[in-house]
Homo-oligomer: 322 residues x 2
């Protein structure tokens, strides 16, 4: 029997670590996950991970030819194979590749989750034919992966692509990074809620959201209200799209991408976010670029975005080194 | 006799078009130039250019082996070989490569002047060992060339690298591009003079510059005054460095370069500009990047920056295609 060529994608997240085997067409097999425990050592996490992997893989191993391992993790460094100062994982400095090599005698590659997601879009999603695009994950944080000429931009130290931490508003909202006015404080799940508060302070408008205390409110509630026509909630998405569109106009001047792809979190809002983003991007863009750049929703809708992205990391490396 | 391997670098500028032969070490030979005439057709310009080139090259041709031609021009498109809508040249759409091929039966490559300058720094200047850096030319405009992984970023349409036209101040200064608040309106030769006016409006300070009418004032006068300790002039450079440093903090978050290289125009100010730029870049930068990025002055001090850059374009292409 011909064994199916696959790579193993592993996504280490703040609350769970998931994995799966992915073939070159983006089909995912033996997908599974374990919880990521706060304050657990990376060694202990990998031991549990491998145990779980073995359990689901054992009976199936004759079906697959495992070519490589791709790992996505917050604050991961592609060049060094490390995770450094990850606030999500409480890890100071871990060489993930060394750790993973104890379990897998295969080519192993690691990158931060947003970069992995970008490669996922390029291998399996809406960026299949693109060589220059920007991938944004708009969930708890604002992650970004920049693709130039078919490759992720890692920069001189492996940490390029921190678009979420560009300052878009001088003396703006306080950011977890210690500075003020970062794009992430406006365009993220938490940023949307902060915008809702800002609008409460600025405009008088009835809203179903006023039933909820600050301890109850979240982005899902704002999204549901907006979809039901709540004006205040719609305004919150319009303002979010304005800030994002203005920022993208600058991104385009730097990099002239074919498209900007939105995934996770706020991307679920669809046109509620896309329309104001497009409008303000075009309005603020240099003529040269007007009408050229698409804003798209992620094409990784069928599978687990994180696993597909991590696996794509490995596929990309295999194909590059051929 | 062994003939010296060289490429021909041609820089088409708004007022003059210069050329020279450059060897792989950056030595420049038979350098010469002709005026660029306003409203002259590109065909007529190339005819005059070739006539001049032939005149200086004829007696020397046995000394050189000409490997290729590199052309730098404003609004040039690397992919298409064209100059499009160049406000400096009054040309709507010209295929420069087709035009140059009538005269030179050699590989010909074209890029905008700032991208050519970036390759010049990489081949012959301070970026010799760098694979990720940003090159800025701070003269009449704010030109920029972005180098990622040893290659210029041209983007999807060949027009990437317009950092001068990112908006850094909402509703800021009017820009020639029709929008407001572009970086170029603050950080350029003209931007410095505008900053001088802004400071006149904001602070009370004696200054030798107050002798000059707006028709007389220029960046050179402001620079000379600053070098002589004039406080208002020094403040103008400090503000320029602040705006540039804030913008660079964002550039670093995108691309994580090893260095930012300043050349032409305002770069002549040296520490008067470098010091505030460094200070404000570090102050506004994500911790992750602090202390990692150098700000350097151009290393192309020996020769004509424009010719070296244009020639480097050709050298880069020859080496890439080997």
């Amino acid at each position: 029997m011909n064994r199916k060529k696959v790579t193993l994608g592993i996504e280490i997240g703040g609350t769970q670590t998931s994995f799966g085997l992915v073939d070159i067409s983006g089909n995912c097999y033996i997908e599974s996950k374990i919880p990521t425990k706060a304050n657990e050592s990376p060694e202990a996490l990998f031991e549990r991970l491998y145990k779980k992997f073995n359990k689901v893989y054992k009976g199936e191993s004759n079906k697959y030819e495992l070519l490589g391992v791709g790992i996505g993790a917050p604050s991961a460094n592609y060049y060094k194979g490390t995770v450094e100062y990850s606030s999500n994982l409480n890890w100071i400095y871990v060489n993930i590749i060394d750790l993973a090599k104890k379990y897998f005698d295969l080519p192993i590659v690691i990158a931060n989750d947003a970069n992995a997601a970008a490669l996922g879009e390029m291998k399996f999603g809406v960026a299949k034919k693109m060589k220059n695009f920007i991938q944004l994950t708009l969930s708890r944080g604002f992650g970004s992966g920049i693709v130039v000429d078919g490759n992720i931009v890692y920069g001189s130290d492996g940490f390029a692509g921190e678009i979420g931490h560009t300052i878009v508003e001088k003396n703006g909202r306080s950011c977890g990074c210690g500075r003020k006015g970062c794009l992430e404080t406006y365009v993220s799940v938490g940023g949307l809620v902060r915008t809702y508060y800002e609008l409460l302070s600025k405009i008088n408008e009835t809203s179903v959201l006023k039933e909820f205390s600050p301890n109850q409110i979240n982005a899902d509630l704002v999204l549901r209200a907006a979809k039901n026509g709540d004006k205040l909630a719609i305004s919150a998405f319009e303002y979010t799209g304005q800030i994002l569109g203005e920022a993208l106009a600058n991104v385009v001047a730097y990099l002239s991408p074919e498209a900007v792809i939105l995934s996770e979190g706020l991307a679920a809002a669809g046109d509620l976010l896309l329309n104001p983003t497009k409008h303000h991007m075009e309005k603020n863009m240099l003529n040269l670029f007007q009408g050229k750049v698409e804003i798209l929703l992620s094409g990784l809708v069928k599978g687990n975005v994180a696993i597909l992205g991590a696996s794509a990391l490995s596929w990309h490396n295999i194909q590059k080194n051929k």
